[in-house]
């Protein structure tokens, strides 16, 4: 995207002059304080919201209106956003159902995806019977079931406890590693973004801008041991410094 800005009718400028390129197969962490327009950025990338100025281009399969074809983009919200009246299986099958492709192949895909997020045996459970972490896994399975080229995550683990969060980080890492979709992961946790990303974009608030673009050169696949390594600590410190600078700039 080039020079993307977004102003709302209320006069709030959520984004200003954002230039951002995301390469195929990259895991981009978008880091910034809350209210810095990260969600708006994701919505523009997803095509759910049009930029006020600037252009956004996706090199994905598109439909007639120029939007990404259904199922090429997966989206995970901060809340699991499941349908409470449907079972885990039906929730994961939803993208196929909406594409009118809920046949035997799709059912097999949904079942496989549920297994791959570690929820085998819970297919017939209802969301309310699951813990917060398990619900989030269902949400991730639903986003991945169509094998999207682009996966957008909007602070997906912010509401979870530290232990669940770490487990989900490892699972997300593993899932990404096995298929390599392009990922844009919005978070306000420095540690999480360094652990997961191949690159981090640091944002400021009001108006939202990208102030730093840092490659994170760590070996793949990443494992738990990394969390305690000195190299990881140094990287976290660097990123924290950039974030602190961004926040100081934002409040000025």
């Amino acid at each position: 995207m080039r020079g993307v800005a977004k102003r709302f009718g209320s006069g709030i400028t959520a984004l200003e002059a954002v230039d951002l390129d995301v390469g195929r197969g990259e895991f981009l962490g978008v880091l910034g304080p809350s209210g810095c327009g990260k969600t708006t950025l994701l919505r523009i990338i997803a095509g759910l919201s049009e930029p006020s100025t600037g252009i956004r281009r996706l090199s994905l399969e598109t439909n007639r209106e120029g939007y990404a074809s259904a199922g090429r983009i997966g989206f995970v919200f901060q809340d699991p956003t499941l349908m409470p009246w449907s079972t885990v299986f039906d929730n994961v099958l939803l993208p196929f159902r909406l594409a009118r492709q809920a046949g035997a192949v799709a059912r097999e895909r949904a079942a496989a995806e549920i297994r791959s997020v570690g929820l085998a045996g819970f297919e017939r459970a209802y969301p309310r019977q699951l813990s917060g972490g398990m619900r989030m896994r269902v949400s991730i399975a639903r986003a991945l079931v169509t094998d999207p080229d682009l996966l957008l995550l909007d602070e997906p683990f912010a509401a979870l406890d530290e232990i669940t969060r770490m487990a989900l980080n490892d699972d997300l890492m593993r899932l990404w590693d096995s298929r390599r979709p392009t990922v844009v992961f919005v978070t306000h946790s420095v540690f999480e973004s360094v652990y997961l990303s191949t690159r981090i974009a640091v944002m400021t608030s009001r108006p939202g801008r990208i102030v730093a673009d840092l490659p994170i050169e760590l070996a793949q696949p990443r494992e738990r041991a990394l969390r305690t390594s000195p190299h990881y600590a140094t990287l976290c410190a660097t990123v924290s410094r950039h974030l602190a600078k961004a926040m100081a700039a934002g409040t000025r």
């Binding site: 759910l48 259904a70 956003t81 009246w85 909406l98």
Partner: protein
């Protein structure tokens, strides 16, 4: 579940049934005692024993009348569910339609049915249909109001998700808005159940013996004129029981449909 917890729950359930029954029995006993001690004549206030006796002797003929009223009530309730649900659906599809028609639904709701029932009875020649229309006017509003709210309450993020997957309007309605609205619709229907009965009774009061069959409401009126107060009470009793049964059935239906997911239908012991 531990055995002790099970015992406590069984005891709690027992209390829920026995406590109201004890209060009822006590009240009836006091009533009977006052009637006997004060020597109140039955045409002013009959005792519960006499009412029970009347219920037994007049039962068959009263039950026949109850059936007439019940038919109107259930037909009105069904019409409230179908037409009320349909109106709410139209409202959710078109904002213009909702804005322009909703005030009239409110007007129809707040106009006392007693005042317009005579007109309806004149206009609609078929007596059953006339009574049905009256009862429907009283009963339909909660369904419309509740279902409209329900259809507009779909989770914003889920709506976004549906857009992302290029869901059609029909799909959004079928997979998202209708399930969201179901608990609201059922809550409306429970209110409408009681109102349909009230509507049927009021309409019968106004219509008198308009038809060939006499409903329970007319029997109450008639019993009042003839000072057959025990029969009046017996008919009243049947009417109350009918109302309670309708409520319980709708409540059970609601629980059955929502048992898997809605907070209102989930037993505490599952937590």
């Amino acid at each position: 579940m531990t055995p002790r917890l099970a015992v406590r729950q069984t005891r709690a359930r027992l209390w829920r049934i026995t406590a109201p029954l004890a209060v009822g029995a006590g009240a009836l006993a006091i009533w009977e005692a006052i009637v006997r001690l004060e020597g109140i004549p039955p045409y002013i206030l009959p005792g519960p024993m006499l009412i029970a006796e009347t219920l037994w002797t007049d039962g068959p003929s009263l039950l026949g009348s109850l059936l007439v009223t019940l038919r109107i009530t259930l037909a009105a309730l069904a019409a409230a569910a179908v037409i009320g649900g349909g109106i709410a659906l139209l409202f959710s599809l078109s904002r213009v339609l909702a804005l322009s028609l909703f005030p009239y639904a409110v007007i129809l709701q707040v106009t006392p049915i007693v005042a317009i029932a005579p007109l309806i009875i004149i206009w609609v020649r078929q007596p059953f249909l006339a009574l049905l229309v009256c009862a429907w006017i009283v009963a339909f509003f909660p369904v419309v109001a509740n279902t409209t709210v329900g259809l507009n309450s779909a989770d914003r993020n889920l709506l976004t998700l549906f857009r992302l997957y290029s869901a059609s309007q029909t799909q959004t309605l079928r997979y998202l808005k209708l399930p969201t609205a179901l608990p609201y619709f059922l809550a409306g229907l429970r209110i409408s159940g009681g109102l349909a009965l009230i509507g049927a009774v009021v309409a019968e009061f106004v219509a008198g013996t308009g038809g060939t069959e006499t409903g329970l409401a007319f029997r109450i009126l008639e019993a009042g004129y003839r000072l057959a107060i025990p029969r009046l009470f017996a008919a009243l009793f049947l009417l109350s029981v009918t109302g309670i049964v309708i409520y319980l059935l709708l409540d059970a239906l609601s629980r059955l449909l929502l048992r898997h997911w809605h907070e209102s239908a989930i037993e505490e012991e599952n937590e």
